[in-house]
């Protein structure tokens, strides 16, 4: 039997693509070697957010409840039980994906897929090898944790994010190598649960791609919580020859050229992710990769080989679930023969730190590089009634406005719930909304989204709820 389309990998890129293909009436199958839902649902976005939320609740009970007149005697965290709750959340979601695939008449084929030729896929599973033929293939195999030879993971005390999201006992001293969003999110969660957490980062700043003023707010909170940041610091390896059997690890680091040692009982290596583009037989069918192994695609998600498409993490940054899903929808339309284009202005994204960070559109540096003259407007959450009433006043909203046509060029937020607030800003950027559009839209009171129009007003020195400080336009 020949399918119209076969999707390889059932992550947020692949399953979304397959469901849409099914909706469009194409005979579709999806091959998954592991669990449906991919990294995102099983060992990424969802379990990490569940754990972060649980840790945050524990932290609030301990540190904030009393101020509001609530006394809880001796709160305890049963990490095993917390993980059970998290696993339940994951199960519910992945079960739902399975049902959706079925409801849209997508065949789920279990096994490891690899290309035999341009129209045939081999699928290897415990039950032996089978073959699937199709007119179109969508490679959505995602990415995996990057490893370093001198920091070999052992799944026990030198671990990746996957094991870090499933620890049953709380590490006393957790050292995290890599201050990207995964390291920061997991680090803050364990700090809230009671671990002593250190983050080792090679660059001058954790979350290096985000504007310094936003990261500063998170750094202050980290320090307040007792976390230690080692920036401009390189991990070099362990003093122990057999880390797995050591009860205490000694991580060798180089800080500003000076050798130091950090003690830990668990080390999390979160230095990035690399595309799953090997072992797929891509070279056999001639699909081109870039120097980092990412599959090259054009504006329609097509690879250089006719009938083979690629989406999501396996095509390189930005490695985000919602980008993978958007690509999935695009490619499904392309395969169906509908007109479709990758034509978004922005891929918004969020760091689920405390407080959260979320950005969309251009950063100040990027706007400057493009020769766009812009105004900056800013609104601190300390002036928001809602933020005060939820006891979360750290952070601000920063808006960049094009001087020429007053359109919203970029929005950068740090503060409570900003992972949710950024959606409105992304819509504004995508719609080409102007400053006036934002301030003419009534926002509910008292809510956090009020910060957006206030920040826009501030750029014109007309903010109501903050002092208007003239800012230099760029």
């Amino acid at each position: 039997m020949k399918y119209d389309a076969v999707v390889i990998g059932a992550g947020p890129g692949g399953y979304v693509c397959a469901i849409r293909l099914g909706q469009l009436g194409l005979k579709t199958a999806i091959v998954e070697k592991d669990q449906v839902g991919g990294v995102c649902l099983n060992v990424g976005c969802i379990p990490s957010k569940a754990l972060i939320h649980a840790a945050g609740t524990f932290w609030k009970i301990q540190n904030e409840a009393e101020k509001m007149g609530i006394t809880v005697s001796d709160p305890k965290c049963d990490l095993g039980k917390m993980q059970e709750w998290k696993s339940g959340v994951v199960k519910k979601l992945t079960g739902g994906v399975g049902q959706l695939l079925k409801a849209n008449k997508v065949d789920l084929i279990r096994g490891n897929a690899f290309f035999k030729d341009k129209s045939t896929l081999g699928v290897r599973s415990g039950e032996g090898d089978t073959q699937v033929t199709a007119s179109n293939f969508v490679v959505a195999t995602g990415s995996r944790n990057l490893t370093l030879p001198f920091l070999p993971m052992n799944g026990k005390n030198v671990i990746s994010s996957t094991e870090a999201l499933d620890l049953k006992t709380l590490p006393k001293r957790l050292v995290i190598i890599g201050g990207g969003f995964i390291g920061v999110e997991i680090g803050m969660a364990y700090a809230k649960l009671g671990s002593e957490v250190h983050i080792v980062e090679a660059l001058e700043q954790i979350l290096p791609s985000i504007d310094k003023d936003l990261v500063g707010v998170v750094e202050r909170k980290m320090k307040k919580m007792g976390m230690t940041l080692h920036t401009s610091t390189f991990a070099k390896g362990f003093e122990e020859t057999d880390p797995a059997s050591a009860s205490t690890l000694h991580l060798k680091v180089e800080k500003n050229g000076k050798a130091e040692s950090l003690e830990a009982d668990v080390v999390l290596v979160s230095i990035g992710r690399k595309p799953n583009s090997e072992d797929l037989g891509l070279e056999k069918v001639g699909v081109q990769l870039d120097s980092r192994g990412n599959i090259k695609t054009d504006n329609l998600g097509r690879t250089n080989v006719v009938g083979i498409y690629a989406i999501g993490d396996v095509t390189g940054p930005p490695q985000l679930a919602h980008r993978a899903s958007m690509d999935g929808l695009l490619v499904a339309s392309t395969i169906k023969g509908e007109k479709a284009y990758r034509d978004y202005r922005t891929v918004p994204w969020a760091v689920f730190s405390d407080p959260e960070i979320a950005v969309c559109g251009l950063s100040e540096k990027e706007a400057t590089e493009r020769g766009i003259a812009f105004k900056v407007g800013r609104f601190p959450f300390a002036a928001s009634g809602r933020a005060l009433s939820t006891n979360e006043t750290d952070g601000f909203v920063k808006v960049l406005i094009n001087e020429k046509d007053e359109s919203i060029v970029g929005v950068h937020m740090v503060g409570p719930e900003v992972s949710n607030l950024i959606a409105e800003a992304a819509l504004a950027v995508e719609m080409g909304a102007c400053a006036e559009d934002i301030v003419r839209t009534i926002h509910t009171h008292p809510t956090l989204p009020e910060a957006f129009p206030e920040a826009v007003e501030a750029a014109y020195l007309k903010a109501i709820h903050t002092a208007n400080v003239p800012r230099r336009s760029r």
């Binding site: 992710r273 695609t297 922005t346 590089e369 493009r370 020769g371 359109s407």
Partner: protein, 428 residues
């Protein structure tokens, strides 16, 4: 900043740098054309995204570069940002994980929207909602050329629809192309034509534009004349029929074209001026040692001429096979820039559609083009008998600056000599 070759059009993966319009050390203004890039679809000018100074040209003329590769470094005026390590460099650390463990780079999705050059070209320069942008793409309308009627110049769906229907002259912004956006070269003064009745305005773009330019250049440069002769193809028709089974076994579609090429080569050898071009500037005629035969091919986008390289060294089977793959590639838009270059003589086959004969336009700077026409059974007089033969007209257009009528006629005689009896080109 490093400026990357932007996405110049759907399905275009690379472009040839044909001409730099700026030099290192020179100042540039935002929107000032920097470089001319030729793709297999069209030649475009790419404007600068910003005010600044050209630091370094990173690609040389004649070089073919993939979309997304840096082609020029520009230093912004009063903008030190360009010199600071950028996101890109932070990510570069990932390339060498063993030598310098960047502990963060990879795990940060970073650079999300802005540096994903494939994702967007126009954004932040033109105001339009996603639905309007989709409509514009569907109708192939360049938003940078549409005057927006909304607040702050926002382009509405109605604006796009109006341009499509020709109700708004989409030229108002043409002198200010958006940075990074490919804009067709040389905007000509608009010809005023007052339409009466219903008129659909279709922008002259891409392959159509390239054809228009090439035809004008040829007609304005070469002194065309066309010479017509007929030839009895009966022997070749027989020879081809005899090879039918073998063709089937080889999986090759055997047309008359390979036979015609085979007959053409010895004739061209005898008349090297037909396989030449004229260098106007140096006032020299270049006699070409290679026999690279262009095959005029009809595609959905318009006429394209893929080239069979060193046709003189290929067998009939090789030629048949290559013609089939090349024309398939051309028709499906997968032909490479290389496949379209280097021709020394062109054949155009009008006969597959119909007609007695055509007067082809020379594929300049070549000096001759052979039109082959339909093979039809016709009564012919042989000796004193009327017989039925497979007859074909040949129409040869030649640049009179290089080849005189008498030589064209002599060349045609030799071609007819070879074609009328394939044994002759086998021996040639």
């Amino acid at each position: 900043m490093e400026f990357k070759l932007p996405d110049i059009g759907e399905g275009v993966a690379e472009g040839e740098i044909t001409k730099w319009l700026v030099k290192a050390g020179e100042p540039v203004k935002a929107d000032q054309p920097m470089v001319e890039v030729m793709t297999d679809k069209a030649t475009v000018e790419i404007p600068s995204p910003m005010n600044g100074t050209i630091d370094e040209l990173l690609a040389s003329e004649g070089e073919t570069v993939p979309v997304g590769k840096a082609i020029v470094r520009i230093a912004g005026t009063g903008d030190s940002a360009a010199k600071k390590p950028s996101n890109g460099q932070a990510h570069a650390a990932q390339d060498r994980p063993t030598s310098r463990p960047s502990t963060s780079a990879g795990s940060t999705p970073a650079a999300a929207s802005a540096t994903d050059s494939s994702a967007e070209v126009l954004p932040f320069k033109v105001l339009a909602t996603p639905a309007t942008r989709k409509l514009a793409r569907d109708l192939q309308i360049d938003l940078s050329r549409v005057e927006g009627t909304g607040p702050h110049g926002r382009i509405t769906k109605v604006d796009v629809q109006m341009v499509y229907e020709g109700k708004q002259a989409a030229t108002s912004r043409s002198s200010h192309p958006s940075p990074g956006t490919a804009v067709a070269t040389k905007t000509k003064a608009p010809v005023s034509y007052v339409p009466s009745g219903s008129v659909e305005r279709i922008p002259l773009r891409g392959v159509r534009k390239k054809i228009a330019e090439a035809m004008i250049r040829s007609k304005h440069t070469a002194a065309h004349f066309t010479y017509v002769e007929e030839v009895d193809m009966s022997e070749i028709v027989k020879m081809r029929s005899a090879a039918k089974d073998e063709a089937k076994a080889r999986g090759i579609k055997l047309t008359f074209l390979p036979f015609i090429i085979k007959a053409l080569i010895p004739a061209l050898r005898e008349f090297p001026y037909l396989n030449s071009s004229l260098d106007d500037e140096k006032q020299e005629i270049l006699l070409k040692g290679d026999f690279n035969i262009g095959i005029a091919t009809d595609t959905d986008n318009g006429l394209m001429v893929p080239v069979i390289k060193t046709a003189d060294r290929k067998s009939i089977w090789d030629l048949a096979d290559e013609i089939e793959t090349l024309s398939e590639k051309t028709r499906t838009g997968k032909v490479s820039v290389d496949d379209l270059k280097g021709g020394t003589f062109t054949i155009t086959n009008a006969g597959s559609i119909g007609g007695v004969f055509a007067t082809p336009v020379i594929n300049y700077p070549e000096v001759a083009i052979l039109g082959v026409n339909a093979i039809r059974k016709r009564p012919v007089v042989k000796g004193d008998q009327i017989t039925i033969a497979d007859m074909m007209f040949l129409s040869l257009s030649v640049d009179h600056r290089v080849v005189d009528g008498a030589d064209a006629a002599r060349f045609m005689n030799r071609l007819v000599y070879f074609l009328s009896d394939p044994k002759r080109f086998v021996f040639a």
